[in-house]
Amino acid sequence: MENKAIKVENLTFRYPDAESDTLKNISFELDYGEVLGIIGPNGAGKTTLAMALKGLIPHTVDGEIQGKIIVDGKDVLKHDISEQVLNSGLVFQDPEGQLSQMSVEEEVAFGLGNIGVPRAEMVKRIEKALQTVGLAGFEKRSPLALSGGQQQRLAIASVMAMEPSIMMMDEPTTMLDPVGKNEVFKVLKSLKEKGMTGVIIEHEIERLTMYCDKILVLHEGESILFGTPKEIFSDLMLLKKFKLRGPQVTEVAYEVFNDKEQIPVVLDEAVQSFSKELKA
């Protein structure tokens, strides 16, 4: 049997006392080394799905769960979260909710201490993680004295330092400027090059399309579409029906090109295909 990084089968979840299911019969698979982007309107169940992949649901958040989730070879429902720390890491949407320590370096050290990384190795990992997210020099600062964007990057560094097989991030760039956003996506890309698998929830379609191998579209708890960015955005009309948009270049091409099979989804590709059309 082929080894998958993530395998979700008929996942259904309902919060206690809720009137309906937040996740409805979701199934998808992701290979090792792939980056998955999850999109959908607010309230679609994106964060709930991330919490289920991490095992926070059902181990710390109650509810009725059905189906199967295998992450990095482990059956998430059957193993406690503490047994899964090296399999997957999750960066929360609100970094303030994740930071707990007195200084930036202690914050990164916290998770490492929990998994028993020796001191010498810990120092190395802290340095590397802070370097990667552009927070070198901030070691002694209080996490609470950082800007929203810096907190967001610290939260990423703390999870990254633990070197989980699968890195999951819930809207990790909302407070970052374009440079900071690119940095996060570059981190994701470099992790990918090292064979790490990524899952990212994001509203910014243009960047997502550039860096993701697969996209999962959620709407009211259901998986509407799953495929490569090209497959997803070639059906722009369907996305619009669910109040989503495509990358700007895709929206233009969809309107003016006759051949809907040739719709570009990233900028470089768009420059080429528009040039070709204008030359014709």
């Binding site: 607010n42 309230g43 800007s147 400027d177 509203h203 109040k243 700007q248 900028l267 528009f274 204008l278």
Partner: protein, 283 residues
């Protein structure tokens, strides 16, 4: 007549001698929408916090109408300048949405009839009818953001500062915020946005002020300012994706003035049509 909001030679130095703003001059008139752009830590938020007196100038002055912001309290200025925080959690604290909406109005001493009128108006605007009794902390991030905005709009301040209004919003949420901004502009309010959302700026087709390292790097219409590539690079800004596309197609006669998807579609059709006409003439 001078502009309603005036920033004169504003310098701000934080404790520890950190210079956050240096000699900023700015005039913003009624009905203007201005997007303040720049990197994290460039001084954008420091600048706008002077408008409602949350920060006081180290040097220079900020005028709100005939009020010198240096000489008035936040409480006094808040009737003229409303500030919607980036993180709505920092702004909401009352146990129900309705109380949250009333709070600012009560603070500036409005009578009960006016308060009810205003709460009703913003409730309708953001369609909050069904959640008036709900605790703001039980709402999702989109709704909480809208409650944050509604509670400020209820005060009807002349100037409205929106700190990252579209952050974490889905497409539908962003569209609604854009509509509200356009409505406020038409009503003669001054709307000041602190944002990284270049698509929003493009669609609003508004004035932009670029801040980098505490200094004003550029000030003008987005369409013009975004043409200055060297400046954008210095400020670490990226124009909307369609503008970059247009720029790379100028050799085909495409005008790089486009700010939105709609404008790019029009521009492409125009160039394509010229092309066909040319072919017809030569054949």
């Amino acid at each position: 007549m001078s502009a309603f909001l005036r920033v004169e030679n504003l310098t701000h130095i934080y404790p520890g001698k950190i210079k956050a703003l240096e000699s900023i001059n700015l005039e913003i008139g009624e009905g203007e929408v201005v997007a303040v752009l720049g990197r994290n830590g460039s001084g954008k938020t420091t600048l706008v916090k002077h408008f409602n007196g949350l920060l006081k100038p180290t040097k220079g002055n900020v005028w709100i109408g005939d009020m010198n912001a240096k000489k008035h309290s936040v409480a006094k200025l808040s009737a003229k300048v409303g500030y919607v925080f980036q993180n709505s959690n920092h702004q909401t604290f009352l146990p129900s949405v309705e109380q949250e909406l009333r709070y600012g109005c009560e603070n500036i001493g409005l009578d009960e009839e006016t308060i009810q009128e205003r709460v009703e108006r913003v409730t309708e605007l953001f369609q909050l009818e069904d959640i008036l009794e709900t605790n703001p902390f039980d709402l999702n991030s989109t709704q909480r953001k809208e409650v944050g905005m509604a509670s400020i709009l209820a005060i009807e301040p002349k100037v409205i500062v929106l700190d990252e209004p579209t952050t974490g919003q889905d497409h539908a949420g962003s569209e609604r915020i854009k509509e509200v901004i356009t409505m406020l502009k038409e009503q003669g309010h001054i709307v000041i946005l602190v944002t990284h959302d270049m698509q929003l700026v493009g669609e609003l087709d508004c004035r932009v002020v670029v801040i980098s390292n505490g200094k004003k790097l550029a000030d003008g219409a987005a369409r013009e300012v975004f043409k200055d590539k060297a400046m954008l690079k210095e400020a670490s800004l990226e124009p909307p994706q369609v503008m970059t596309l247009a720029e790379q197609l100028t050799s085909f006669g495409v005008n790089d003035h486009v700010l939105t998807v709609e404008e790019m579609i029009k521009e492409y059709k125009r160039v394509k049509k010229l092309d066909i006409n040319k072919q017809l003439q030569t054949s």
